[in-house]
């Protein structure tokens, strides 16, 4: 079992515009209403990078920035980063494939540099000056639980605070028919090894034999399930619950069981 503490949370999905607002919805204090995810660019990006920055990075940087601010503002703080995304940036993939399908194949240099799975981590470190480890991974539909496990293992083993972000952007045709991710969604958890005065909750993570995964809250639109990062919602609902909960997340052939105890 691995024990970590959640220091702050960032969240962006349709109708879930930041942790404050989403927590009220997750607690049932306010009703859920669909609203498209606004494509904003976090103000921390320098102007040159802002021009080049791609949709997937804008989305994940927004929740990473929210979590950082919640945890005490923009003071330079050295954190390791874990970014988990099943599919990276669908728009960049489509544009590169189009360029390569031309009679004279051509790729824009900026687009190629943006095609790496760690583009988000690159923009993040440039924007924040963070120079610690950044790890970018994929585990297809289980990318959220795999990323959370990697982040927790880094916290436990290295003793560093870790900023963990899971995000995926929606696909358009023609790739949508191959990978039907229908919504944009990003969630960030800032996690650490020691309990602090501002800790929100303790998490105890255990790999168990396969059990049924905790269901999404009933009000969540069905399309959310298409986004691997949105598989975080049962855990976020537990984090919003003042009594805490134990949630089960699908993890390959096993289950990642997470006991949430509010601080």
């Amino acid at each position: 079992m691995i024990s970590i503490f959640v220091e702050s949370i960032g969240l962006l999905g349709p109708g879930l515009l930041g942790w404050e607002q989403a927590r009220a919805v997750l607690r049932g204090e306010t009703g859920y209403a669909w609203q498209d995810v606004p494509m904003t660019t976090p103000p921390i990006l320098p102007p040159a990078e802002r021009r080049r920055c791609i949709a997937s990075a804008r989305l994940s940087l927004t929740t990473a920035h929210e979590a950082l601010q919640q945890a005490g503002g923009d003071a330079p703080r050295q954190l390791a980063c874990v970014f988990s995304s099943s599919d990276g940036d669908s728009q960049v993939i489509t544009q590169i494939m189009e360029g390569l399908a031309q009679e004279a194949p051509d790729v824009s240099p900026t687009r190629f540099a943006n095609s790496v799975h760690n583009a988000t981590a690159g923009y993040w470190s440039i924007a924040t000056g963070m120079k610690q480890s950044s790890t970018c991974l994929s585990a297809y539909d289980d990318s959220f639980s795999a990323g959370l496990l990697e982040a927790a293992v880094q916290v436990a083993d290295e003793g560093m605070d870790v900023l963990f972000t899971a995000s995926d952007v929606k696909f358009q045709e023609p790739f949508f028919s191959l990978r039907p991710i229908a919504v944009d969604y990003s969630a960030t958890l800032l996690v650490g090894r020691e309990r602090s005065p501002s800790s929100l909750a303790a998490l105890q993570l255990t790999l168990t034999e396969r059990q049924a995964a905790t269901a999404m809250p009933a009000w969540v639109p069905a399309s959310f399930a298409s986004n691997p990062a949105a598989h975080s919602l049962p855990l976020l609902a537990a984090l919003a619950d003042p009594r805490g909960q134990t949630v089960c997340l699908d993890y390959l052939e096993q289950t990642l069981q997470v006991k949430v105890t509010p601080c």
Binding site: F112, S125, D157
Partner: protein
């Protein structure tokens, strides 16, 4: 030294040949695997490190959906050096759910998507045989390796451009120490694709000749492909240890390294610190050494800052090409060969060392006492990882 990690099995396949014997023979004799580009799908004026026999590889039965150049190369790699037997031993000893698979790739099976998209552009429909999950998605590589080896432990694919399959060693070491696994198959596989061949050409980072790291006239990389794997365990049972690793971010630029190599130096220092070794104890550094003017200049400053100008170093990319997401693993395998055979491989393609570069770059292969080897891998987005391997008897 805090809880060492044992490297109990190893294999590598690249342009130097399939398996460790072919790799060692090439390193000892100074043979390069690079050739004038004959990858007909991307007729670019360059040299490449192509693996023979990838096209002919037939995937194991039941895994037809995974058929793509990258997974074929992965299977060709897994079949070498008795690696499957070693994994089976671990599986029997620990159970399939206790053996993890943490592998790196930068482009997975993108070549098949590139070809499928051409067909889509013409016909307005995807071809029948496209399998996005198994071929294109990054996790397709780990999924394929798990199924081929019959493993059910923790798994993910790390994709941080050219440091991907160096970072898998750090991730696996942590999973082992935190007792989520008893053994982990780590590895890296990247294969030739239009995206990388045309993409690096667009960035003007591709050489028209075989790449010449550290050379005064170096003018870019030679793109290669490779598949390498290692089995890491907590339990004693090997002559080689993973003693250190260091990871860092440049926080500087998306496709250019920090000019003073600050992030690279930070990664090397962290690896030394973890291994509790002094710079003077390192017998050889396998450089990232891509052969672009800015990469080598930046890495040279980083090496000087941490090690001074004494420690012998070289880049083996003049032999293998730059195997991108597989480079960390490929060069980890070369580092282990150096430890086992007392070898310091020369950067044979380099003819005239750049007088601006001050590190002790070795041009001709030689034998030496080699107890500790550091291997560097640095990627786009300023993502750095250094690995440190040591002989058990060091």
């Amino acid at each position: 030294m805090p809880s060492p990690i044992y490297l109990s099995a190893l294999t590598a396949t690249s342009a130097l040949g399939a398996g460790l014997d072919a790799t060692l023979d090439a390193l000892q004799s100074g043979r390069s695997g690079l050739r004038a580009n004959d990858f007909q799908l991307a007729p670019i004026d360059t040299w490449i490190g192509r693996v023979d026999g990838v096209e002919e590889e037939q995937l194991a039965s039941g895994l037809a959906d995974y058929a793509c150049r990258n997974n074929k190369l992965a299977q060709l790699g897994l079949r070498q050096d008795g690696f499957i037997d070693a994994v089976n031993r671990a599986k029997e000893a620990y159970g399939a759910h206790r053996v993890g698979v943490i592998v790196g790739t930068s482009t997975s099976g993108v070549l098949e998507t590139e070809l499928a998209y051409r067909s889509y552009s013409k016909n307005g429909a995807w071809p029948e045989n496209i399998r996005y999950r198994e071929q294109h998605n990054l996790f397709g590589l780990a999924d394929f390796v798990r199924r081929y080896l019959g493993l059910q432990g923790p798994a993910h694919v790390i994709s941080t451009a050219c440091s991907s399959s160096a970072k898998v060693f750090a991730s696996a070491a942590r999973f082992l120490r935190q007792d989520l696994c008893d053994a982990v198959v780590v590895g890296g596989v990247d294969s030739l694709s239009l995206t990388t061949l045309y993409g690096f050409t667009a960035l003007e980072l591709v050489s028209t000749q075989a790449c010449r790291p550290w050379d005064a006239h170096r003018n870019g990389i030679s793109i290669g492909e490779a598949a390498g794997f290692a089995l890491l365990e907590k339990q004693e049972g090997s002559d080689i240890l993973l003693t250190g690793y260091g990871e860092s971010s440049d926080a500087y630029h998306m496709s250019t390294p920090h000019p003073q190599g600050k992030g690279a130096a930070q990664a090397m220092q962290a690896a030394l610190q973890r291994a509790q070794l002094q710079p003077g104890q390192i017998d050889y550094i396998n450089l990232h050494g891509t052969g672009t003017p800015s990469n080598d200049a930046s890495e040279d400053l980083a090496v000087l800052e941490v090690f001074g100008a004494e420690v012998p170093c070289s880049s083996t990319k003049g032999a293998t090409g730059h195997t991108l997401g597989a480079a960390g693993m490929m060069e980890a395998a070369i580092s282990v060969l150096c430890l086992r055979h007392g070898l310091i491989p020369g950067g044979g393609s380099t003819t005239q060392i750049d007088p601006q570069l001050k590190a002790n770059f070795v041009r001709h292969t030689k034998t030496a006492t080699v107890r500790h080897v550091l291997s560097n891998s640095f990627g786009f987005g300023g993502n750095n990882c250094s690995l440190l391997f040591s002989r058990m008897d060091a």
